[in-house]
Amino acid sequence: MNRLAVYGKGGIGKSTISANLSAALSEAGRHVLQVGCDPKHDSTKLLLKGKRLTCVLDYLRDTLPGDYRLGDVLEEGFAGVGCVEAGGPKPGVGCAGRGIISTFEMLEQFRLSDAYDTILYDVLGDVVCGGFAVPIRREYADTILIVTSGEFMALYAANNILRGVRTYDGAEGKRIAGLVCNCRNVTDEIERVERFAAAVGLPIFATVPRSNSFAEAEGANMTVMEHGQDGELIELFRDMAKRLAEGAPLHPANPLSDEELESVVLDSAAPHAGTDGASCGSVELQSEGTCDPDPTSQETTAEAEFGDSIDLTDPNRYLSKTVARGDPLHGCAFNGAIATALHLTDAVVLAHAPTSCANLSLQAFTSSGRRRLFERGALLPASLAPNFACTHMDEHDMVFGGTGTLIDAVRAQQQKGPRAIIVVSSCPAGIIGDDVDRVLDLSTPECPVLALKTDGNMTGDYLQGQLSASLAIARAFIKHDLPKQEKTVNIFAEKMVVTNTQANFDTVAGFLERMGVRVVSRFLYQATTEQLANFTSAQLCLPAYTDYTASLLGQLFSEEFGMELFDRGFPIGYDETVEWLRAVGAAFGESETAERIISEQEQTYRAQIDALRPSLAGKKLMVVSYNCELDWILRTALDLDMEIVRVGLLDYSQDVGFRTRIEADLPVVENYAREARGDEIAALAPDVLLTNYASPLGDSVPVADTIPMCPDVGFGSAITLARRWAQLLKTNAKGSWKDDGILFEQSFL
């Protein structure tokens, strides 16, 4: 036994038994962690001399992911038992079951299972929803104890727990060590429990007598084990611990029907027996309380021990900028993961979601493909006909769980012969606690099944979903340490939903082709599992961009797959393209070819600049943009002798920090305030205003133009824009349609 889940009806004494059992296991030489999975968060109180821990869920809510420290939520209690409390919402609001799931996810991230050889989960009452069933999922608990008394409702709850276990284990699985009868002095109590045990085919693992020793120990804020006054009880817990540690025989779950239960427990419809004073003197009498929301008020005794060794800030954490900063989430991880996974063109992506969630993702993904077809007749298979399916979770799934629906859907997809199936989970699947990992059992060598548990936006925003999917897919399909092939590259971090991605790739691939360099794989844009498998055979990885997401992906390829990274993104504008070609040429011994391409283009560019300079020299340029890499346009503006009066950078979730190779002083303002635009335009009087979206503020400027979020790559990127400015300055035409805006306002606003 390494992972023990203690279940039972609320108030039956689970926490007290759990705490004493943890103490006994620890005394027996085990390194024990007790996890309280009850919003009441008092499971570990007796191990901590009455001290209440900062609950994991409060901590997750109030702390940025990058600041997570295990010591803030983990403390060492009596006999060295590690103590953690999940916590949860006030009664009547929120979803406590979801809270259990979040807690387990965090504990997984901390790799607590590596740090303890024994983990005891003390779980609230009945198995009321998927969230509370998390500890009995196979990967968490290998042994289950069910605490009950002779009261009907306690046995009813015990039977329901067996139903929950049966759901996960089927008829063959054996994980139940038995029942623990925690006596409440109900009439005919032992006989009732024995009848129930016999009917469900379980042993009574232990019988805990009703004793004032529990109350006395609790009064001293201790376990009976620590209190040391009742030798009989101490021996009982030591015996339980010994048998569990040695590997008690395990049994399958064979729950009764409600009718059978009534018949067995009430013994031929005998009246429901009363209790003699109910909870008086029983073992679970711990007081209610609230979590301390301020993690800084807690001691961090465990941090010194655990904080450095198992920490969430380890290199395996890939957080989007928004998640790392705790900002409002833009989009959902579900959508981002799907957008990424759909580019694995021989896989099927299966959304475990209601139809609406899948539709939102599908429309976001396919709209650019439809647009490209409409605009220029381009047929992009991955964008127009992605291999996408949905489990269409319905009301029944929401109430009864959708894991079965999911498994059926995976099997149905397998019949179609894809090279992989990638399951992505939505908010509802996450909230009801569907066991998405069960699809992993359906994996075959021919068709691996991946489970991306994005749970809608519960694991983060769109970019987090992209990162999570990238990690999972890379780790699943990229083979390590293949022999390098001469003159080969991978392309990574291309944008997935913009319309010029393919055109930009074609431009770069054209340059590479002239240098005799071949692309092995694109990560992840219209790639196959086979191409990914050969990923490490490439000599160099070329990023399409060098933004935040690209840097994380680069980190992944470099650190986990030993890939060499190129340090420049796809080149935009003349200077960048020249530098990029020289660097790539040098990397592959093709400098002469690179210079040949450059010289072909240089004359053209200089001639274009010379032609435009008379129109634009001395003109003032103001840029307000989300883009953090603007050298391509700023360099050309400087070549044209324009005056750059402002570069205002708006805060943007996908990028961090202005980056430039231009040595001249530039009037850059980062985190530019949108409210400042009007005043700045009036004060600086630009001739050309460049923004990502046209704004009525541009009406006061001779030329207001838009700057693409993802510009075309190559030598001529900025020339196209500059040529338009020159023309517009010459004609000074604004379009008289703008005068009709007043009509729109009168009619529609």
Binding site: R61, R98, L329, S356, C427, I432, G741
Partner: protein, 458 residues
């Protein structure tokens, strides 16, 4: 011609050899269409003066904002900086409370309350429609209590359950009913007086339609032509005051039955208003004449002007078809495929087979939970000897005309098929209709005839 309102184009596959991986060319992948959640949002966003506030994550808002805005412009500035990032996240429509994991665990009241405090002060919003997203609906926040506490006298409605994978038609009906419950008077406010033009309402004209603006305009025009005043187009562009007066009409006209039958029954129960259900939406001259003759008779209008106009339109249509027919024998016998709800399939198949003598070879029903007109469609196909067309894979036959969404048209193109695609459903390929189009009524029939004739190969 390959899709609606476009010039001829040559299409080529990006990789030169198309793809063989497409599971099925019909419709969206694996039955993935907007569901009841979207239907609710679109019914409410289709009401002038109403703003949907999604109680849920931002991921649920982008599509709904984008589609609502493209179907009904309410502002012309698309600069994201003009909209507060909080709640709107750079889009002009459908703000959200941006719930995250902690809110699912602890409840989303704090964020909803903060949003409501903001929206309460927005005078341009006449009705705040708080709609739970699929995830938020599971945690059971008490929307009514929170809204009452924070909005005071500001009108609001709440939809706590968005439905899970039930079809968009059902959601539209839920949204429409919520509007009536929130705004509709208890009894007619201004009962018809002698000398008034008879007032009718239009039901079942959803925002989520390929030709939403043109459809509403044509149905309004035809009613006016019959001497009827259109009171409320429920969820189809009418304002809050129109909804308040919805009980004043003498007749409710259900245009698309799957989107309006339940509302009509509810309004009958609530106000005693009679309703007329179109036999499938009025597509084609005959269906339009029949429907409006009936409607005028029931409502006390006069269909004669409409019939006269229809006669002139028939003449114009005849001249073009006749010219083509005399040269080529077309359009008789041209095979076609179509995608749509049962009622849409019934309406368009009736018209194309009866008027133009086309032959249905593949018909693909969507929103199958809303099966009104399914029996009629089966009966029609039986009469035509074309039962095998229903549910048939268009790749197994050779339709020359395909009436479908932009997605389906694109997928068939991807398979290298040669056909003329006519967009009848969303999503579109991207054509912007500056001139409103419709396939309903008299103008719609002419439009449809025009597109069919231009789509023929001869």
């Amino acid at each position: 011609m390959t899709e609606s309102f476009s010039s001829n184009r040559s299409y080529k596959s990006q990789d030169g050899n198309g793809t063989g991986s497409m599971p099925h060319p019909w419709g969206e992948m694996d039955g993935i269409y907007p569901d009841s959640f979207s239907g609710i949002v679109f019914a409410l966003e289709g009401t002038e003066g109403a703003t949907v506030l999604l109680n849920g994550p931002t991921g649920c808002k982008y599509y709904h904002s984008s589609l609502s805005d493209s179907q009904t412009f309410r502002m012309f500035d698309f600069d994201p900086l003009s909209f507060p990032m909080k709640w709107y996240f750079g889009q002009p429509r459908v703000p959200s409370t941006y719930l995250d994991n902690a809110d699912y665990v602890y409840g989303g009241e704090a964020k909803l309350a903060e949003a409501l405090d903001f929206f309460k002060a927005q005078d341009s919003i006449g009705l705040i429609c708080i709609v739970n997203t699929p995830g938020a609906a599971l945690i059971g926040d008490d929307l009514d209590r929170i809204a009452s506490a924070h909005l005071g006298d500001k009108p609001f409605l709440t939809v706590e359950t968005p439905g899970y994978s039930t079809d968009i038609c059902h959601g539209f009906e839920i949204g429409a009913r919520a509007l009536v419950d929130a705004l509709g008077a208890d009894a007619p406010l201004q009962p018809e007086k002698a000398g008034d033009r008879p007032r009718v309402n239009l039901l079942g004209l959803p925002l989520y339609s390929r030709n939403y603006t043109g459809d509403v305009a044509e149905m309004r025009r035809l009613c006016e032509l019959c001497g009827l005043e259109v009171g409320c187009v429920l969820g189809g562009g009418s304002g809050l005051d129109d909804v308040a007066h919805i009980g004043d009409a003498c007749l409710n006209i259900v245009v698309h039955p799957e989107y309006g039958m339940e509302s009509a029954a509810y309004l009958h129960e609530r106000y005693g208003t009679a309703y007329y259900v179109c036999d499938g939406a009025p597509v084609g001259f005959a269906a339009t004449e029949r429907a409006f003759t009936d409607i005028a008779r029931h409502a006390g209008g006069d269909a004669a002007p409409l019939l006269d106009q229809s006669k002139k339109a028939r003449m114009r249509s005849f001249s073009y078809i006749s010219r083509l027919n005399s040269l080529t024998g077309l359009p008789k016998g041209v095979p076609f495929a179509a995608e749509g709800s049962f009622s849409e399939l019934y309406a368009i198949t009736s018209f194309l087979t009866d008027y133009l003598a086309l032959v249905p070879v593949a018909l693909w029903p969507v929103y199958e939970q809303s099966d009104c007109c399914a029996a009629k469609l089966n009966e029609l196909l039986e009469q035509l000897g074309a039962r095998e067309a229903l549910g048939r894979d268009p790749l197994s036959c050779e339709p020359e005309l395909v009436f479908a969404s932009g997605s389906t048209i694109a997928r068939l193109q991807l398979e290298g098929r040669e056909f003329a695609g006519i967009e009848t459903m969303l999503p579109t390929l991207g054509y912007l209709d500056v001139v409103p189009k419709t396939f309903l009524g008299i103008n719609g029939t002419l439009q449809l005839v025009e597109m069919v004739l231009n789509g023929l190969k001869f």
